[in-house]
Subunit: 250 residues, 2 copies
């Protein structure tokens, strides 16, 4: 008997931004694997099994979910945002590649979602309106000097930069160091956007210049978008400004 494994992105947290496809998959699921706070958002029924784990246990969680599916369960693996962007889809693939042959025969589906940078960008205007990149600032899974090399390369190439995992209790200095590096390449007036829990009651949203960005509060759930030299701010009376990156250049 073979089950089914669906990897779901719930979007940024506002229920209005969860796709119907994801909602249907959640309704059909029997066992749910994920980081506790993401599972809390699902309002599971009493007959649905909740297997919460810590944020840093992705590969163990992936193996447990694959094992449950291989025993016949209808399994959902839950990420916030999009499951393919610094989230569980890659962990599941890694577990399949290194796991028993039978896991390659499982019915595995990935359902996309609205990833954090898109929600933060929409709240700001259109800062991702031109070429952009997404870089995780966590040096748990890659060396810090590689992160610095990448930041310098993309800033010099003129891409807007979305930073995921910018800071945590165990990684307190990386974000300020990244801003310092970027100030060597970009004008200090470059717009920087901080977005956290966009569309939720505890939303934090701020826009300021790169030269003062290190003074903004941020945590591991914040997405930071750093403009290019082209990114513009339109002031509006009584409202947040619009921040956008023009479609054309040169």
């Amino acid at each position: 008997m073979t089950g089914k494994l669906t990897i779901i992105g719930t979007g940024p947290g506002n229920p209005g931004q969860t796709t119907p496809q994801a909602t249907d998959a959640i309704a059909a699921g029997e066992q749910f694997f994920g980081y506790g706070p993401y599972l809390d958002r699902l309002n599971l029924r009493p007959d649905q099994i909740r297997v919460a784990s810590d944020n840093r246990e992705e590969i163990d969680r992936a193996r447990a979910a694959l094992d449950a599916a291989s025993k016949g369960a209808t399994v959902c693996v839950v990420s916030g945002g999009d499951p393919g962007v610094f989230a569980m889809a890659a962990a599941i693939c890694e577990a399949v590649e290194t796991g028993p042959e039978t896991w390659r025969r499982l019915d595995i589906t990935v359902l996309p979602g609205v990833t954090a940078m898109l929600a933060v960008a929409a709240r700001a205007g259109a800062p991702l309106g031109h070429d952009f990149c997404a870089i995780s600032l966590s040096d748990n899974l890659k060396p810090w000097d590689l992160i610095e090399r990448r930041l310098r390369a993309v800033a010099e190439a003129g891409l807007v930069i979305a930073l995921y995992n910018p800071i945590s209790k165990a990684r307190p200095w990386q974000l300020a160091t990244a801003f310092k590096l970027l100030r060597e390449v970009l004008p200090v007036t470059t717009p920087v956007i901080f977005g956290r829990a966009i569309g939720r009651p505890d939303e934090h949203f701020a826009v300021g210049p790169l030269g003062e960005a290190h003074q903004q509060p941020a945590d591991m759930a914040t997405c930071v978008i750093i403009g290019s030299a082209e990114t513009r701010i339109i002031e509006r009376p009584g409202m947040d400004p619009l921040v956008y990156s023009p479609r054309s250049i040169g």
Copy 2:
């Protein structure tokens, strides 16, 4: 009297991937501005006004939509995918910045959506599971040598690359030229994913090595994802392979 302007992303085209927020905004809209094929997907009511325009008339469309909102209408500007990624949100911002002062007082909301690269990535596995970028291959709005410089910079930096607007009747050679350039930096075995109309009846999906990528069909609605040197393919019996970029490196 002042209206309201909402910039909507309908997602990749499968109705199950349109957010409830976008669906609600469509139900509440009075006038709809967008590229004809995107408006066709909305199933508008007879009382809702449809203003279709050609794909290359973004700034004129933006001005017409802002003008209608300033006259009191509830206006929806419609993009496929996410409106902030190479789509209408930036055109609206540009029109506001260069337009009459009254447009800065309008109630403007951007609703994010699932952008094409996330849907294509989900179909493939998790190719965007590590640092990645999105680059438009259209040289209508930026010089071709800038595109080449960016492609080389991001490939050398090890980012996965999602290409938007890879090819059109007026731009027939750019995609093959991009592949040629990338073969100078990346192994010829690097996985390349072609995705078009994912989740719709006319879906096209293919995975192959960079060395043969120029032989694949593509059009302006195709999103092309080019892996990094780390991106891996997991073969599966009787199913498409899983393509993923590992979470860790180095």
